[in-house]
Amino acid sequence: MTQLPEEIRCQGLGVSEGIVIGQVLRMHDGTDPVYRWKIGRDKLEEELQRFRTAAQGASRQVLLLKEKAEQRFGKDHAYIFDAHLLLLEDKKLVSDIENYITTAQVNAEWAVKVVGDRLLYLYSQIKDEYLRERSADVDDVMQRLLIALSGGVPQDRSLSEDAVIVAQDLLPSAVANLDLEHARALATDSGGWTSHTAILARGVGIPAVVGLRDFFRLTRTGDRIIVDSSRNQVILHPSSDTLEQYAAETATYSNRRLASQTSETGPVRTTDGVELTLRANVEVPSEFEGVEKYGASGVGLYRSEFLLSRRGGLVSEAEQVEAYQKIARVAGAEGAVIRLFDLGGDNLGEQFQDGEKNPALGLRAIRFVLANEEIMRGQVRAILRAGADGNLKIVLPMVADPSDVKRARKIIDEEAAKLKAAGEPFGVVSVGAMIEVPSAVVLADNIARAVDFFELGTNDLVQYTLAVDRGNDEVAGWFRTLHPAVLRSINLSLQAATRAGIPAIVCGEMASTPAYVALLVGLGATQLSMTPSSIPRVRQTIAAIDSKNAKQIAAECLACDTADDVEELVRRRFIQYWPALFNSSNLPAFREN
């Protein structure tokens, strides 16, 4: 073909540690990802045949569409399907795909994707806007081929292991459908440290660089790519020099990773003997094995709404019981905290959609389940029943004041009483409140008297305290985790829990980041819950700091006027007290400075 494309480096934000060399797998929103399989030489003819059969099937479909369109709209409008038909029969297109299958020895889907992406790329270079937009026709035909191919996919193939998923944005529902076991890394145009992509990537323990702005359009499926989270960058079409350098680096890196994975378990102590418990936040099943692997003391937060997002609707009580039993088994003796569905009607399909103008302040989380009591009762029953042979707790999301807790408790007590009356086995579960909105912080003492424990959801706490949407790039500059208002809110909540004699678990993304962890220790946190793969790093951090200095720094931060002042202070003090742990490059929130 043509000469080798030039190496392109693109800067973003590394949000999940690691370096990976792989192949681009482009993902458009809403379409299923295509994976690459190796096809043995002896199976190539079979694969070619599979492609031809699919192409014939796709042609037949288009022909039917064409006939329908002719009847309904007249011959002239049906010509567009003629174009699709001609594309499916195009000698050049067909031979390009067949050649790719044969020379690269890959499955037909991958070949269709690679050849299709190349075409779409050529289209994107066309100057005339109308003609350029006709790439939709090519896209349509490629999708049709992929769908035709998915009809008879044999199940016993092993997936290629170097897929790097590249997307403009990964919607939670798309992420839920991803086969994360076989993705090596993620790279997205949008997103930040607390985006869903980032959280899941850390959870599964694969590298991710987000906020690449305009990277997606430069890529084609099958392109070679390096994702280097430590340098906040991705490299497309790396030169042979770059590849060599990275091959050496990944070799040492994976050794290091292995060493940090074989970590100890149980609580960890600061150098001056303050004990902290580290738990795991989990959502998707692929994160479960991390609980034991990274030595978590049980599950501090199970985001149950995953059960819904995966299926795009409600899930039966029996299925929930099974899911919660599984979580209980994964968590072991330390138990698991299950958060009631933390979502709004917009997540549950049309029957619940009322098109709220302001969903973040609308009927969601505890409000939604209280308003849809049957959903809540079903989930509560499932948790109680699963609690019969496991240690489970319930945490109520987005509690605003004690009345939310009282209403929820009443329902939980009633369901327990019904199960008891029916003679069904169930477990008594304790009930906690998520502290994540300002009113809950202000009334923390009052809420503390009504619950068995607190959980501090720092992501939402930042968002609601500062009134900043974390998904909105326009106000990204106002989303400051180290804002004095946020730190004081955490401080107030932790103090209220101590006064009431109940435990408090800090479970937002703050708990995953060494720099924030040191501050949380200073603020008096003794229980942290985080994405499993972060545990070894957090454990190392805690074991290397002393609570006395951490407390002093935290006190200074609480007295600051602005987030800038806090960040500056943290930077100075951390490097001063713990030079072995911190330097200016490993404090992710401060990169703008």
Partner: protein, 96 residues
Amino acid sequence: MIERTFTITGRLGLHARAAAKLVRLTSEFQSDISLRRLDGSLTADAKSILSVLMLAASRGTELQACVEGVDEELAMNAIAELFADGFGEFEAEPSL
């Protein structure tokens, strides 16, 4: 071999529907038929829709048709007719 130059007059250029008509037509003949942009080096196989679409021939683009084979005259006449007819398109808003 016969060569002849045509200008794209349709408002939307040689888009998918027009290209489909052209390819359907050229495929009826045995001759080899190519289209070349006069303003550049791009040449397309007129029997491949992919190839024709990649010409990105917008309104006003001049294309040189080159036909070679046993039925070259018949083919060229048919092509000329299609161009003269504006690909049988009405200048209506595109519906697709």
